[in-house]
Symmetry: none
Subunit: 387 residues, 2 copies
DNA sequence: GAGAGCTGTGAATCTGGGG
DNA sequence: GCCCCAGATTCACAGCTCT
């Protein structure tokens, strides 16, 4: 499902000719359209209680100041668009409150809303959702498989974004949650609140005429696929008030859901329309066949310390006891004043360029020497899960 | 490190006899103690600007109604303690604001605060942190390796909690972040914002007289280990205003940090004191961690000439031999009539704004090209300042 | 053609000390 | 406060060139 456009057959004139549950004659004019305009004003023109689900990717209010360069002095192409600039938290809150109120009016009583954000804005979004009477069902963490690194070494790598999933009110008990479908999707394990997905790159990422990214914050289709699979049914109406390049609409169409997109920028709206027109709705069988990738979890050496399998100050040796190293609190080793990772120090004592520290270093803690890779294996067993 | 108590030797009377940086006579009475009382009142009695870091695990305001049962009808032991009940979001906000204000007063200008929570409360905590002038540095996701499943099949498995890490204000630029230590801890990759750790179980989990868990929300020591390793140094003072079973204090003591715990419930405080007394602090060598390069003594390029490792008139090149420069007697370089520092000339020949000349320029004096940073390293070793 | 190697880039609140 | 400048700082992919 990485690229809906690539799987497209001939574009159809009518955008949703075969969708269930909406006879052509009753098909409201705004359905399966990208509407151009301010999202609050446009939503106020939609019928109350007409939407099954909302996915919203509002401005994050990043509050960036200077520029940022990579270690090779290349410039990071930051989000510096006007639409992401707000004078204050108060201004951002007022904006957020306004569009969330409009969303709540058009949402069906058992409808749900998704909002995605980062630490810059998601706390304010969550607070306002709660204050307006929405009822938070989950917060979902999108773990980015390939996030941008931290270039200055001043913080943790910002490797995730947060989505809030909420019902219209606390007493809405019959919201859609396709528990069985998500469990099947996740190799028969309950779908957790943390999802590992790559960011939107490659041919899926829309480009402008010069080959640069068309939109600074295009979301991956796989993310929307999970959102819509979990909380909507075929034939449902999905609203996206910040439609952008139309990812929500494109995935909704592919999945047999109706969509309403609202976008302020006519250029983005036009690009979205072309993208959506090229989407071929999937067959029911095709929709059922999607499976996520699973990966072996990577265990850092520090986790062995955290798990108590080794203790700072312990001694490691190679298999024959020729080299000795001291374990330090941060998961590094120390040999005669030189410190570094298990791999670096393993290479260093052997005079090599590289070394797999997991198999080179041994501990005698419980009797005979055994490779520390055994300790890693025990942690993996204990965790008993992937992805 | 799964169970500090198991590794304990004979309990010591004085809780931190060997901590650095705090001579016994000046040791304030509240240091390395669990104080019993309301956290706001107690914090108001602490000196302003006296704390390096705060870890707070406040009530989550879970808003549970009715009991929760598993599929086999067994009852889930939920958090239903009085301290987790608030009449409204407004009441919870007022409570949160009060203790975060008190925290901000006792925090040093370059101190940082960690707050952990779930979707029930973390958005309100984050909003209030921002409103009070704290500056969010990261939000960290604790991915639970073994979360409680969702028994009703109505939501995603709630498999994570969120921590907010914030500095006291936006202009506090010199907060502690042990970047190199965390990178080494994570097998030489930058530490990301998502941490996979098991919940607190087994012998680490404190039990009451009947073998039931003593506290409903005891956090794993591994979580605090990462928190304190990343954002504090040995000898720092760590405050936990909701101390509970004393996990923060126990890990702080093991890691050679001072602690101040505040707990309302005398029974929890007493259990924490016993737990802490049984902790053996790690050795100084074990506590050493990767030192940041910025902290190493500065060596001017001229020192390389003084040491005879290069000679005026020598030629330097970049790694691929595309650029050549002449070494001059005053420690500057010259390229086609332009002279300047190794950094300035490195930037100049590449047409960039900046350049680290130590890694850009190479010498072939002893065979294969190697960066002049190697020469600097040899001087540092000669000074006996390595490690 | 296969594979190694080089280059570019992504929602980013991203330096610090001395004069 | 400002200005100057030394010098520290990146991971996973995609896509291209070169052998």
């Amino acid at each position: 499902m990485s690229n809906l456009r690539q799987r497209a057959a001939a574009p159809s004139r009518s955008l949703s000719p075969t969708l269930p549950g909406t006879p052509g004659l009753d098909h409201p004019a705004h359905l399966d359209q990208i509407l151009v305009g301010d999202c609050v004003a446009m939503m106020e023109r939609l019928p109350a209680g007409s939407v099954d689900a909302i996915f919203a990717d509002p401005p994050y209010n990043l509050q960036l100041e200077g520029g940022l360069t990579r270690p090779d002095q290349s410039k990071v192409d930051a989000v510096d668009d006007d639409w992401d600039k707000f004078d204050s938290f108060e201004a951002y809150d007022a904006f957020t409150r306004a569009w969330l109120i409009a969303c709540r009016r058009v949402l069906k009583p058992n409808g749900t809303i998704w909002v995605i954000g980062s630490y810059h804005n998601i706390f304010r979004v969550g607070t306002i959702l709660q204050d307006l009477g929405y009822w938070v069902l989950n917060d979902i963490v999108w773990r980015k498989a390939n996030p941008m690194p931290n270039f200055r070494g001043k913080r943790f790598t910002n490797a995730h974004e947060t989505m809030i999933w909420a019902s219209r009110s606390q007493d809405a008990k019959s919201y859609t949650f396709n528990y069985e479908a998500m469990k099947a999707f996740n190799d028969d394990l309950q779908m957790r609140s943390d999802w590992l997905l790559p960011i939107c790159t490659g041919s899926e990422r829309l480009k402008d005429g010069e080959g640069a990214k068309l939109h600074p914050t295009q979301k991956p289709e796989a993310l929307l696929y999970r959102v819509l699979l979990s909380s909507t049914n075929p034939g449902d109406v999905v609203l996206d008030p910040f439609s952008g390049t139309g990812t929500t609409a494109a995935v909704a169409r592919m999945m047999g859901r109706h969509f309403v997109g609202i976008e302020r920028d006519p250029a983005y709206a036009e690009a979205a329309r072309k993208r959506i027109a090229a989407v071929t709705p999937a067959s029911a069988e095709g929709l059922a066949s999607q499976r996520p990738k699973r990966a072996e979890p990577r265990i850092p050496f520090g986790a062995v310390l955290e798990a108590g399998l080794l203790t700072p100050g312990d001694e490691l040796t190679d298999a024959k006891g020729r080299h000795k190293a001291l374990v330090r609190a941060d998961g590094t080793l120390e040999v005669a004043g030189t410190t570094g990772s298990i791999h670096k120090i393993g290479a260093h004592v052997q005079g090599l360029d590289a070394c797999n520290g997991w198999t080179f270093w041994h501990t005698q803690k419980d009797g005979a020497p055994r490779p520390i890779d055994d300790l890693r294996a025990r942690i993996r067993e204990g965790l008993g899960l992937a992805s």
